[in-house]
Symmetry: C2
Subunit: 556 residues, 2 copies
């Protein structure tokens, strides 16, 4: 798979090859029915409802559309369209043939989609129910684990299992271990036993060990699934008669050097190993009400810019692995950004405003776990305010120009940043804190001093004193400082930078999400790199060949 | 370094080659003065106060002795005996030449020793002060970070730095990143900048960024260090006139097949890839008072057995990397174990009892982070009670015989386990929870049901029903079940087991310690395995050759 084609994340239900999305009143059913011949790259068949990145891209799209296009949906049933098998997890031949970076990136996206499923359950009143109507193994069970309620068909053959360790010599790496222990509270010794037993656990024992919520005999299956779906729907506060907001096709122009959307443009600088990303603020006043915003639909600026950034992050992460530094700039009127923020914040009881805010939150979280160095460059004419200031707060470093560019535009207004309501609450990181709280972790005084300046236009010196930016060079040093920062970044070991950033970005408390990205993924990445898994005699490479793996038995 | 000699962790101040330990009333001074020729294996010189495992073994010994042998010591000043250099960190040639497992094991032990320094500060009234009288780079600064108060000499040349990333392409892996962000609360962007700047930061800026607590000009250095040491000493509640307890040489017989101490014996089964570890309970009633216990000194059973297990864990971890499963058995009278526990628990205001309890806690934490599968086997005649029951609660799986061995000893008392006070509080894991709380994380009812049975002798069926053990086979299945469990373990990928155990052992909340072992170490292990660090053109291998590293620039 060394020369994989460029991956495109935009899709729509009419183009799905692997999923069927149906809705019936408040209950949607997402049926996994993977096309064996539909692998995203050649070289393997997606047997037994196993998946690859392409299957997951469709799932992500479906989860997004359910939130925006289907306000009426309150329960989402995930089930299988194949007999006897729910899902066999990530395709093993695909994993075995993939380069290290592809595996890691694939697992990250899969984890993000599953966190999105949990986010919909927690915050959108769309509760996911796993109707496990056949065997769910590995990533198949991990998909079920992302659902709020797991029903397993009790037919003496169906089971849930995490066979990665015994069969492949790797971990269940898309959240499985963390969700078994920290979400479902399976006792650690039972979890250990379960994760070494390739055939898994079914029936009453699976319920008793908390691996699933209920085991249901086949004759009553359809009836009880419908009953549970209705029960979960009854808990929801989603609106009854609202019209959905269609996620119309995202306009995007892409060539080797630029990626252009309506509000976002990326210039790819292969020489320097960096991407210059420019985000445009809104051009007009916000609509007068959230109802009018809903009419604008996918054209509503906060939704449009979030979709564009989300797609850009995924595109660059997957297709441009050698561009290690992303430099963010913004352009526009800070007051307009804050006005849009205010409309959203003031309408948070509205289902659509709620969805936009959570999407913005999730897009920013995706940025946080991206293995690229992030730099924010704050110049005159920029609009790092409120929601867009989050890009600077997410960055590993930020530079704000002190004064103006004397030669180019001596009469410009100096660059400013502005804190708004959206920096103080809803856009939490995976660690449960806002980026502002994370920045001032252990420094209450610093936090309060900054928070008190909400809505003030902060020039570079003020922003630096308050600790909201990293450096405030003036015109004379500006180009040189930014050039050095990006060149230096490009000279360092990309792996060490990834490790450094993964540690420094998430201070303070931990959540299931930070554990999945910070701990589980780090161990999995290590294992994915070890000869015991991926060497010529390793378990992942030998799986299915009839030959046993040969291990270096040294414990590290 | 492929054929390194067997490493021995027992030492004593009169044999130190790298440290001087002096005390003057309440202040001890630990002076690092590394013997360049004193590397633990040949092939490198320990220049500039750089260290290897041998240097760290002496530091660990000194930290232990200060706690037990010096009740009068309230402040420990760590400083350098070399001019202009405090400590240059782990020796780079040693790291570059070491196999992966050696590096990982070395970092783990170093981390544990630094956690021990923090434990002495927090729990023993022995506060560590880093008197950084020259440049502290990499692991040298990480050593200072483990101290409560960091003083840096302000002489325009001394600085603190973490140059691993720019110079070596690896992370500061012995707690540095975590302590910078989570302990010292250095702002994340400043931390990022600091960790990419090889020359580091000194003087007032180091104070302003919170990297050190104060910068002191050379002329007033000695005076102000003494002043701070006295201030820290004044806060302590350690006793004034108590006599220390000498840590007399630990008796140990070691050959290729067995390791024998007074109360602990290990049989090394290379064929099966396992170690059978047997721990003897106390032979006699406990002393009548903690004062009498102190008279017994190192012979006092809880201290003796803790020292033996501590040494055994270190020996096996370092020297027997292919023995992947440790099987724990105990032998003795559970009532006597509980009686000793009670003496300790009832005397927790006594400095000696306090030290023994914290040592027991730290030894068990060392077990928790050991990359070996742990199995507890509970048979008739065993004494898994209170403190020794922690061995079973630390295990990945436990087996308790239901009934007795009908042929061998039909009249025996059945195997029991007993919960005691020490399972309910002081012996917390790195996550801040007891092993019992960890076991029942998310299951309050289960925890309460088990806790209510404190002091009851629980036979296998009861113990299994309460969830305190994993399996309770009877005589007929016993040998077979244990044989299968250990054989199966030996057939799995050792790397995948390490990852699995590292995830399942620490459920729930996170602390700086769990972050260091679970997240920082996992990323570092990944990086330690990557060609960008350890390949022929990698940064770690090329350091000092005058050639620049060549990186695969793909971000993973």
């Amino acid at each position: 798979m060394p020369d994989q084609p460029r991956v495109e994340f935009r899709t729509a239900p009419e183009r799905y090859r692997h999923w069927r999305l149906g809705t019936e009143g408040p209950v949607a059913t997402l049926t996994m029915d993977v096309d064996e011949q539909g692998g995203i790259v050649p070289g393997y068949e997606l047997k037994l409802n196993s998946y690859d990145l392409g299957v997951d891209i469709e799932l992500y799209d479906a989860v997004q559309r359910l939130r925006f296009e289907h306000p009426e949906v309150r329960t989402v049933v995930i089930t299988s369209g194949k007999p006897k098998i729910f899902c066999a997890g990530a395709n093993i031949r695909m994993l075995a043939a993939s380069p290290h970076g592809w595996k890691v990136n694939f697992c990250k996206f899969t984890n993000e989609t599953r966190n999105g499923i949990e986010d919909a359950t927690a915050n959108s009143g769309q509760t996911y129910l796993a109707a496990v109507n056949g065997t769910a193994s590995g990533g198949g069970y991990e998909l079920a684990l992302a659902c709020e309620h797991i029903m397993l068909i009790d037919d003496r053959s169906s089971a849930v299992s995490l066979p990665e360790l015994p069969l492949l010599g790797v971990l269940p790496g898309t959240g499985g271990l963390t969700r078994v222990s920290d979400k479902r509270h399976v006792r650690r010794d039972l979890a250990d036993y379960f994760s070494t037993k390739a055939e898994g656990v079914g029936g009453k024992k699976a319920v008793q060990w908390r691996l699933v919520d209920e085991a249901v005999p086949r004759p009553r299956w359809d009836e009880i699934v419908a009953e549970r779906a209705a029960e979960l729907a009854a808990r929801s506060s989603r609106p009854q008669d609202a019209a959905g907001v269609p996620l119309t096709p995202l306009p995007k122009a892409r060539d080797d050097d630029t990626i252009t959307y309506g509000h976002v443009e990326a210039r790819l600088d292969r020489e320097a190993g960096k991407v210059d990303i420019s985000v445009k603020g809104p051009q007009n006043d916000p609509p007068a009400s959230i109802a009018e915003a809903r009419q604008l639909g996918a054209a509503f600026w906060p939704l449009a810019v979030t979709r564009e950034l989300d797609d850009l992050i995924l595109d660059l992460r997957t297709n441009e692995t050698e561009l290690g530094t992303w430099v963010f700039r913004t352009e526009g009127d800070p007051a307009l950004v804050l006005a849009y923020d205010e409309l959203l914040r003031g309408s948070k009881d509205d289902w659509f405003a709620n969805e936009v805010l959570h999407y913005l939150k999730r897009m920013l979280r995706r940025l946080d776990v991206t293995s690229r160095s992030l730099i924010a460059v704050i110049e005159p004419g920029s609009c790092f305010a409120g929601s867009l200031l989050e890009l600077a707060l997410a960055a590993d470093r930020s530079f704000q120009l002190a004064g103006v560019f004397e030669d180019a535009d001596p009469n410009a207004e100096p660059a400013i940043i502005t804190l708004g309501d959206l920096n103080m609450g809803p856009l939490t990181m995976s660690n449960g804190l806002t980026r502002l709280q994370t920045r001032f972790w252990g420094d209450e005084v610093g936090y309060e001093a900054a928070a008190k300046r909400k809505r003030d236009a902060l020039e570079a010196e003020d922003a630096a004193d308050l600790g909201l930016i990293t450096f405030a060079p003036d015109d004379i040093d500006w180009d040189e400082e930014i050039r050095i920062a990006t060149e230096e970044r490009a000279s360092f070991s990309p792996d060490a930078l990834t490790g450094l950033e993964a540690n420094y970005r998430f201070v303070g408390p931990e959540t299931m999400e930070t554990k999945i990205f910070g701990r589980l993924s780090a161990w999995q990445n290590w294992i994915f790199n070890r000869p015991n898994a991926v060497g010529p005699d390793g378990a992942l490479r030998r799986f299915g060949t009839g030959q046993r793996a040969v291990f270096d038995r040294k414990r590290v």
